[in-house]
């Protein structure tokens, strides 16, 4: 069986410096994978390159064995929360409905069925009470849940999420994790850019350690070791004991 994601020798460059070099990994179906690495390691860039949002210099990206464009219906994307203008005149439900736009096709409007799906998905993230709220009046955690609900209605097989845990409250973090586990149980594949090293082992069964190149990738127990982390983060890690790793604050 083909893996949902298969990356071979991917290189991405901004101007003259290579941001990602010779990236190679694959992600098995039904896995929860964290992409981990220091600031500037190219984590978001990697996701964007896979989704075709930025051009690559060379390499091969396959989603279920096909180029991305042939399979874009199978992919759901949760961008960073800061990437959109929350003052946009639209409601939470409406944002979720946007997740259906890829399925609706040209010249057609979202129908009753799409509306029902959007409502259901808002309910799943516990936001049904806020459906008609203007999005700037939601808290950070609530905004993130709306984004997740939007990804859910995309009804994808593979999900990419860019730092979904940044700036959210503990309750939302729990809700997100529950959702990710549900997705995994349904046989879907989820890739998350993740910052918090403390929760990696608890949340994710697969890891990709990234610092411009792939340091290691695979099952969390094998990959998430002190030695590999040290290699990924260089000297910026302070080790208290195994399991408690702190990233040194540079500023």
């Amino acid at each position: 069986m083909t893996n949902p994601i298969e990356i071979k020798k991917l290189t991405v460059a901004y101007d003259k410096t290579a941001v990602l070099k010779d990236i190679q990994f694959s992600v098995p179906k039904g896995s929860l994978t964290a992409i981990i690495g220091p600031n500037g390691a190219g984590k978001s860039t990697l996701i964007k390159a896979i989704l075709g949002l930025i051009p690559k210099v060379s390499g091969d990206i396959k989603i279920y064995g096909k180029p991305y464009r042939a399979k874009d219906r199978l992919v759901g994307y949760v961008p960073q929360r800061g990437s959109v203008d929350w003052d946009f005149p639209t409601s939470a439900l409406d944002v979720v409905l946007m997740g259906r736009y890829g399925h609706i096709g040209w010249f057609k409007r979202p129908g009753k069925e799409d509306m029902a799906l959007a409502k259901e998905s808002l309910k799943k993230v516990g936001m049904d009470a806020y459906a008609n709220r203007q999005i700037s009046q939601l808290s950070g955690g609530q905004q993130q849940r709306v984004f997740l609900a939007r990804a859910l209605v995309q009804d994808a097989q593979v999900y990419f999420m860019d730092e979904p845990f940044v700036g959210v409250d503990a309750a939302t973090e729990k809700a997100i994790i529950q959702l990710l586990t549900d997705l995994k149980d349904q046989g879907k594949t989820v890739i998350v850019v993740h910052h918090d090293l403390q929760t990696v082992e608890e949340y994710f069964d697969h890891c990709i350690l990234l610092n411009k190149e792939v340091i290691a990738s695979g099952v969390t127990e094998e990959v998430f070791t002190l030695e590999q982390l040290h290699q990924t983060y260089g000297g910026k890690l302070a080790f208290l004991d195994k399991g408690k790793v702190m990233v040194e604050q540079t500023r």
Binding site: K9, A13, D15, K16, K21, D22, V57, S58, D87
Partner: protein, 303 residues
């Protein structure tokens, strides 16, 4: 050629040239800061917003006294700059919308007033409409001297506060931490920006004045990474544009100065974007091709 030679000898033309040279220099320098502070288009709005001020100045005094007109322009220009910042900070509207809004409505008021001025018995000969596209060659020598003097004054003030402006442009928080009066400096900078726009509109015109702030500065950015060098190069480009534009427009009466200054500045910009040593498009293209080759070669070796 002979014609140009004769022109250069005329005392008034020499003054006009000195005036536009100083103006180009001052706007190039202030424009660099405005560019880095992402405020260059505020200059555009301020220039358009000067028109109602000019008209009000004329209506109040009933004569074309440049000083009064410039004071009027400064007042409405500052008011426009203030409105833009207030709208952007107090509502969900972003700065670009605020700029565009203020620019068009102030200019609309300006046109309404200009029409009224032209209906006045003295207004017909006022020549206020030359403020729209600029007419450097037609300036009388006292006006030119005023422009040159004001530009020189702005230059001196900017040089005195150079390091403070540098700091608030780069890192306003840090400047605050150092105990600098950041909001006063911001206001000073805005006043200088409004002033340079205002003294420039007579030569360049309200619509195209923004170009003299933006184009030399962005061209200069291509040649250096150091602020002090950027400011100097930008000033130089501004001065060259001012002088060449004025020379062309003084070949014949009725040729507006502003458009030729802008075209000169843009030609300098095109040359910069193509051929600047470190960042020019053509220069970069060659370099990038080389690095891509290198990247691929390195990968080949890894394999």
């Amino acid at each position: 050629m002979e014609q140009i030679g004769q022109m250069l000898l005329a005392a008034n033309t020499q003054w006009v040239l000195i005036g536009t040279l100083l103006l180009g220099l001052a706007s190039g320098i202030l424009g660099s800061f405005a560019l880095l502070r992402k405020q260059s288009l505020i200059g555009d709005a301020v220039a358009h917003a000067a028109l109602p001020g000019i008209c009000i100045g004329f209506m109040l005094t009933g004569e074309r006294s440049l000083i009064i007109l410039l004071i009027g322009a400064t007042v409405t220009g500052l008011l426009a700059a203030y409105c833009i910042q207030y709208i952007a900070s107090a509502s969900i509207l972003k700065e670009d919308t605020a700029i565009c809004l203020i620019l068009s409505t102030f200019f609309g008021v300006g046109i309404v007033l200009l029409t009224k001025v032209q209906q006045m018995p003295s207004g017909n000969k006022s020549g206020l409409d030359s403020f729209i596209f600029g007419q450097a060659a037609g300036m009388v020598s006292s006006d030119v001297k005023l422009m040159a003097g004001a530009a020189a004054l702005l230059l001196i003030v900017t040089i005195i506060f150079f390091k403070e402006f540098k700091l608030i442009t780069f890192d306003a928080e840090f400047a605050k931490g150092l105990g600098l009066p950041v909001s006063a400096l911001n206001f000073l900078f805005m006043t200088l920006l409004v002033a340079v726009v205002v003294i420039g509109i007579q030569a360049v015109g309200v619509i195209l004045m923004a170009a003299l702030l933006i184009t030399p500065a962005i061209s200069a950015r291509y040649w250096t990474n150091s602020l002090s060098k950027m400011v100097m190069i930008s000033g130089l480009f501004g001065a060259i544009s001012g002088v060449i534009g004025t020379l062309i427009s003084s070949l014949d009466r009725g040729i507006p100065t502003g458009p030729f200054i802008v075209v000169t500045a843009t030609i300098i910009f095109i040359l910069s974007i193509l051929f600047a040593p470190a960042r020019g498009i053509i220069t970069l293209k060659i370099k990038r091709r080389m690095t891509n080759h290198q990247l691929l070669r390195e990968q080949g070796q890894v394999k």
